[in-house]
């Protein structure tokens, strides 16, 4: 754990060691490093859990759903309504992609809340990949739908003519900043929350008899982290839908 006392009794708070990538199976091929890490392991666990849970839930095919099936149905319907309400019926074509993103991120976030597990989404390498894939997909969809007219997206027609070039620059910058904020939001939220938990946990040992005070804090923060885990997955999904809406309908 984080707060292990050093040899001279000094407290060492090491909140970042939980994010360390460890090689489980070494497969360094020289040119590329394909080692199977704990990050990869937990990605597989998250995917397997999702597949099994959703599979088992809907395997009954009953008209009157069981508890598990109704849970899966509520989840499916919630995401579908979110896509339709935000981006219209055209966006339903891309619903499987958004549902996959949502479920995968949610599974990774919640799996990270299990003690001693690894939070896959706390690493920027993972979140930047997810956000870049969304960015490229959405941009390609925009160009496929509107052709070269998609560039008009950056030219604010409602603004006064003098202001348009300046606003155009701002629009382009904010468009290019999307994958950055999209990915960093998820990664930083997951990382910061887990680091705070570890720092508070280290205080428990340091305070001795009064250690119960930080424990109360840890309990509260853990509850908050569950909220953050679900909320960040939701925010990632809904921002994807918002970007998709921009590409489909251009403002």
């Amino acid at each position: 754990m984080a707060g292990k006392p050093a040899a001279d009794g000094e407290l060492v708070i090491d909140p970042m060691s939980q994010f360390e990538i460890k090689r489980l199976v070494n497969m360094d091929l020289g040119i590329i490093d394909l080692s199977f890490t704990n990050s990869a392991l937990f990605t597989f666990i998250a995917v397997a859990l999702t597949v099994v849970l959703l599979w088992v839930a809907v395997s009954g095919h009953s008209l009157v759903p069981s508890r598990a099936q109704s849970m899966a149905e509520v989840f499916y319907e919630f995401t579908r309504n979110m896509v339709r309400d935000t981006a219209g019926n055209e966006a339903l074509k891309y619903f499987p992609y958004i549902f996959t993103l949502f479920v995968f991120i949610l599974a990774c976030n919640l799996l990270g809340m299990v003690p001693y597990s690894f939070t896959v989404t706390s690493h920027f390498a993972v979140t930047v990949f997810l956000a870049l894939s969304v960015f490229i997909t959405v941009t390609v969809i925009g160009f496929m739908k509107h052709g070269a007219k998609f560039f008009l997206f950056f030219w604010p027609m409602s603004a006064p003519p003098v202001m348009r070039p300046f606003l155009c620059i701002i629009e382009v910058i904010s468009y290019l900043a999307r994958p950055i904020s999209h990915s960093i939001r998820l990664g930083a939220n997951m990382m910061a929350g887990h680091a705070v938990l570890k720092v508070l946990a280290a205080f428990v040992g340091a305070l001795g008899v009064f250690g119960f005070l930080p424990i109360l804090g840890v309990v509260g923060i853990t509850a908050l982290e569950f909220l953050v885990a679900v909320l960040q997955a939701y925010v990632f999904a809904i921002l994807t839908v918002v970007y998709l809406n921009d590409a489909l309908h251009m403002h």
Binding site: T86, I180, I184, R185, A192, L231, V235
Partner: protein
């Protein structure tokens, strides 16, 4: 008294970047507070606007997270 000036500047800069997170907190609080004020006036319309609330919070929070990123870059990448 040891260490060099660049090292000191790094930590001071990272600390200053932390102020940005407080500013983001003000922004998120304003959004949530205004949403609540509006929702209490017209509870029937509140349900439909919840996604907008989260989008607004996410955008406000993104800027605070950029501050966090600056702090991280100063501490570990410079």
């Amino acid at each position: 008294m040891e260490g060099n000036i660049a090292e000191m500047g790094k930590y001071i800069g990272a600390g200053l970047a932390g102020i940005g997170m407080g500013a983001a907190g003000i922004g998120v609080g304003t959004i949530a507070g205004n949403f609540l004020a509006g929702a209490l006036r017209n509870p029937a319309a509140a349900q439909g606007q919840t996604p907008t609330l989260f989008i607004g919070i996410a955008f406000a929070e993104a800027l605070g997270i950029f501050a966090f990123l600056v702090a991280l870059l100063l501490l570990f990448a410079v």
